[in-house]
C-alpha cells in the first residue's frame, strides 16, 4: 500500500495563545477509510482545512500523494482532496443542482461536453439525476449533501473528507450518506470521516481519536470501542449500550449473552 496523506509534526494555532493542533502525526493509506473522532473543538475541522491548504500549518509538513503541500502545490493538491462540509446550505454554490455539480468542473476548466457527461453520471450515482433542475430550496438537507458528494465525485478526487456531513441530517438522510461512503470506499476512494458520533466510526478501517488538538490513539474501530480508558479520556459522549458494556467489563458482571447483545447494538449503525 502507498500512503496518500502523510502528516508530520503538524501544529497550528489561530492565535498566539493556544495551539489548536499539537504535533499531529498521521499517515493515511490509499483506499483506506479512516475516522477522525473527537469532541467539539478538538481540532478536527482545523485539520481538514490544513489538508487542503485553506489554513497553513505553523510547523510540520503535509504530503499528499507524494507532493509536499505549499503555496505552489496547493491548487494541485485541492484537485486530489474533496471535502463535504457540515452545513448543506453553506456549500451549495449553484442556483440549481446541475449548476452546483458543474461549479467545481468549471473551476477545473473541464470542457463542456465532458462536464455534461460527468454531471449525468455522478448525479445518477447519488440518485439525484431526476433533481438536476431543482433549486436548493426544493431539496432536503440529505439531498443537498448528496449533491455536494456528486460535485466532488465529478471532480474525481482521490480522497473525500466528510466533515460532520451527516450531523445536520435526519436519521434517514444520514443512513443514505453512510451507504454512499461505504460504496465509494469499496470502489477505491480514500475516505476520511470526521465526526463526534461514535456510531459513524464503526465501518471505517481505523479510528483516530483527537483530544484538544492531540492524537490520543489510533486503532481499529472495534479496538477503540472496547478501549474504556481512551474513550473516557476523549471527552466523547458514549452511547448507552457501550457504557453498559464497559460497566459490566470493569465490574466483572458476567453475562455473556447480554454482553454480546450490547456489543452488537453498539456496532449497529
Amino acid at each position: 500500500m502507498k500512503p496518500i496523506i502523510e502528516i508530520k509534526d503538524v501544529s497550528f494555532a489561530y492565535s498566539k495563545q493556544q495551539d489548536v493542533l499539537k504535533n499531529v502525526n498521521l499517515t493515511i493509506q490509499k483506499g483506506e477509510w479512516i475516522t477522525i473522532l473527537g469532541h467539539n473543538g478538538s481540532g478536527k475541522s482545523t485539520l481538514s482545512k490544513l489538508l487542503i491548504g485553506l489554513l497553513k500549518a505553523k510547523t510540520g509538513t503535509i504530503h499528499v500523494d507524494g507532493i509536499e503541500l505549499n503555496e505552489d502545490s496547493v491548487y494541485d493538491i485541492r484537485k486530489k482532496i474533496g471535502i463535504v462540509f457540515q452545513n448543506p446550505d453553506n456549500q451549495f454554490v449553484g442556483v440549481t443542482v446541475r449548476d452546483d455539480i458543474a461549479f467545481g468542473l468549471e473551476n477545473l476548466q473541464i470542457p463542456r461536453e465532458e462536464m455534461i457527461e460527468r454531471i449525468d453520471k455522478f448525479s445518477k450515482k447519488v440518485d439525484m439525476f431526476e433533481y438536476l433542475n431543482k433549486e436548493p430550496q426544493q431539496l432536503s438537507g440529505g439531498q443537498k449533501q448528496r449533491v455536494a458528494i456528486a460535485g466532488i465525485l465529478a471532480m474525481k478526487t482521490d480522497v473525500i473528507i466528510f466533515d460532520e456531513s451527516t450531523s445536520m441530517l435526519d436519521p434517514k438522510g444520514r443512513k443514505k450518506i453512510l451507504e454512499y461512503m461505504k460504496q465509494l470506499n469499496d470502489e477505491g476512494t480514500t475516505i476520511i470521516t470526521i465526526t463526534h458520533d461514535m456510531k459513524e466510526a464503526v465501518s471505517s478501517d481505523r479510528v483516530v481519536v483527537l483530544k484538544h488538538g492531540e492524537i490520543l490513539k489510533v486503532d481499529t474501530s472495534t479496538n477503540i470501542l472496547r478501549d474504556k480508558t481512551t474513550l473516557e479520556q476523549s471527552n466523547l459522549e458514549l452511547l448507552l449500550p457501550l457504557e453498559l458494556l464497559h460497566y459490566m467489563d470493569s465490574n466483572n458482571v458476567d453475562h455473556q449473552s447480554l454482553k454480546d447483545f450490547l456489543w452488537a447494538s453498539s456496532l449497529n449503525v
Binding site: Y75, N87, V93, V95, F103, E106, R112, G151
Partner: protein, 321 residues
C-alpha cells in the same frame, strides 16, 4: 415574507422563454429608456398597449405581474396624493370649499379613529385608507353654519394630475417589464446574460466575471436568507417582539432585533461558503469553462431591432415634434 419571492422564474413556454437573456436585458434597458423619453399621454397609452400585447403573446399571467406591482401600490398612491396636494401648475380642474367647524373637525377625528381601530380587520387596506380620506373631505365640504370658524379650498390642477399619471404609468411599465424578464429567465441564464452584457465594462478594468459570480451567489442565497429572516422573526415573536404593530421606536427595535442575528449568521455563512468554494478549486479571477452556452437566434435580432426602433422613434418624436 413569501411575497418577496415574487418575480421568481416560473417555468413555461412562449417566445419570451425562447429569447436569449442578453436580448431580454438589452431590450429591457432600451424600452425603459423609451418610457422616460416619451411625454405625451397618447404615446404612453401606446406603450401600455404594447406591454399588454407582449403579455398576451408571451402568455404571461397578469396576476403574477400584479403581484409584482402590489408592493408599489403605496408608492403610487403617495406620489398621487403628493402631486394633487402640492402641485398647483397648469389649469384648475376642480375646486371645492372646505369648512372647518367643531362639528366637521370632530367628525373627521371620529372617522380617523374608526379607521385606526378597524384597519387591521380590512383586507384592502389602501382602498380603505383612500375611502377614509375621501369621506373626510366630504365631511369637511359640508357647510355647518354658524359654527364655521375658517374656510379653505381643495383643488386639483391639470399638471398635478398629468404628472401623477406619468409617474404612475412609468413605474408600472418598468416594474412590469422587469417582472417579465425575471419570470421568464432562469437565474442561471440571467446571470450569464448579465455577465455578457456587462463585458464592455472590462475596458475600464471592471472584473465582470467576479460581478457575475457575486450576483449569482446573491440570487442563490436570497431565498435562504429570507427563510432565515422568517425563522428569526418567529423566534423573536415567541419572545414577545411584535413585528406587525408598534410606534416608530418599537419598529426600529424590531428591525434591529432582526438585523443583528441576520448579520452574524450571514458572516458565518459567507465564511463557510468561501471555504467550500475554494475547496472546490475556485480561484478568484482565474479562467473557468462554462456549462451553459447562450445561443443567439433570429428572433433575438428581430426583438432587438424592434426595441431599438421604438427608442429611436421616441427620441425623434421628442426632438422633432
Amino acid at each position: 415574507m413569501k411575497n418577496i419571492v415574487i418575480g421568481r422564474y416560473v417555468p413555461g413556454k412562449g417566445f419570451l422563454y425562447d429569447l436569449d437573456p442578453r436580448t431580454k436585458l438589452i431590450a429591457l434597458l432600451v424600452l425603459m429608456a423609451a418610457t422616460f423619453i416619451i411625454d405625451e399621454l397618447i404615446h404612453m397609452a401606446a406603450a401600455i398597449l404594447l406591454i399588454g400585447v407582449i403579455l398576451v403573446i408571451g402568455r404571461i399571467s397578469v396576476k403574477r405581474v400584479y403581484l409584482g406591482l402590489r408592493p408599489l401600490l403605496f408608492l403610487l398612491i403617495f406620489t398621487f396624493a403628493f402631486q394633487i396636494l402640492f402641485n398647483t401648475q397648469g389649469d384648475l380642474l376642480f375646486e371645492t370649499p372646505l369648512y372647518y367647524s367643531p362639528i366637521t373637525l370632530g367628525l373627521v377625528v371620529v372617522i380617523v379613529l374608526i379607521w385606526g381601530f378597524t384597519k387591521r380587520f380590512i383586507k384592502f387596506k389602501l382602498l380603505y385608507f383612500l375611502a377614509t380620506v375621501f369621506l373626510s373631505l366630504f365631511v369637511l365640504n359640508t357647510f355647518t353654519e354658524p359654527l364655521v370658524f375658517a374656510t379653505g379650498t381643495f383643488s386639483i390642477y391639470e399638471d398635478a394630475l398629468e404628472m401623477a399619471l406619468f409617474i404612475m404609468l412609468r413605474l408600472i411599465i418598468i416594474v412590469t417589464l422587469s417582472t417579465i424578464l425575471t419570470i421568464t429567465t432562469k437565474p442561471t441564464d440571467l446571470n450569464l446574460g448579465l455577465e455578457s452584457v456587462l463585458k464592455p465594462l472590462k475596458v475600464i478594468r471592471v472584473n465582470t466575471e467576479e460581478i457575475a459570480m457575486i450576483i449569482s451567489i446573491a440570487l442563490r442565497y436570497i431565498p435562504t436568507l429570507l427563510d432565515e429572516a422568517n425563522k428569526i422573526m418567529l423566534a423573536q415573536a415567541s419572545r414577545g417582539v411584535d413585528f406587525q404593530e408598534g410606534k416608530l421606536k418599537e419598529k426600529v427595535m424590531q428591525i434591529v432585533s432582526l438585523l443583528v442575528p441576520m448579520f452574524i449568521i450571514s458572516f458565518k455563512r459567507s465564511d463557510e461558503l468561501a471555504n467550500a468554494m475554494e475547496a472546490r478549486s475556485f480561484i478568484p479571477g482565474h479562467p473557468r469553462t462554462r456549462l451553459h452556452l447562450l445561443t443567439w437566434k433570429t428572433l433575438d435580432t428581430v426583438v432587438l431591432v424592434v426595441s431599438l426602433t421604438l427608442l429611436i422613434s421616441s427620441i425623434s418624436i421628442r426632438v422633432f415634434l
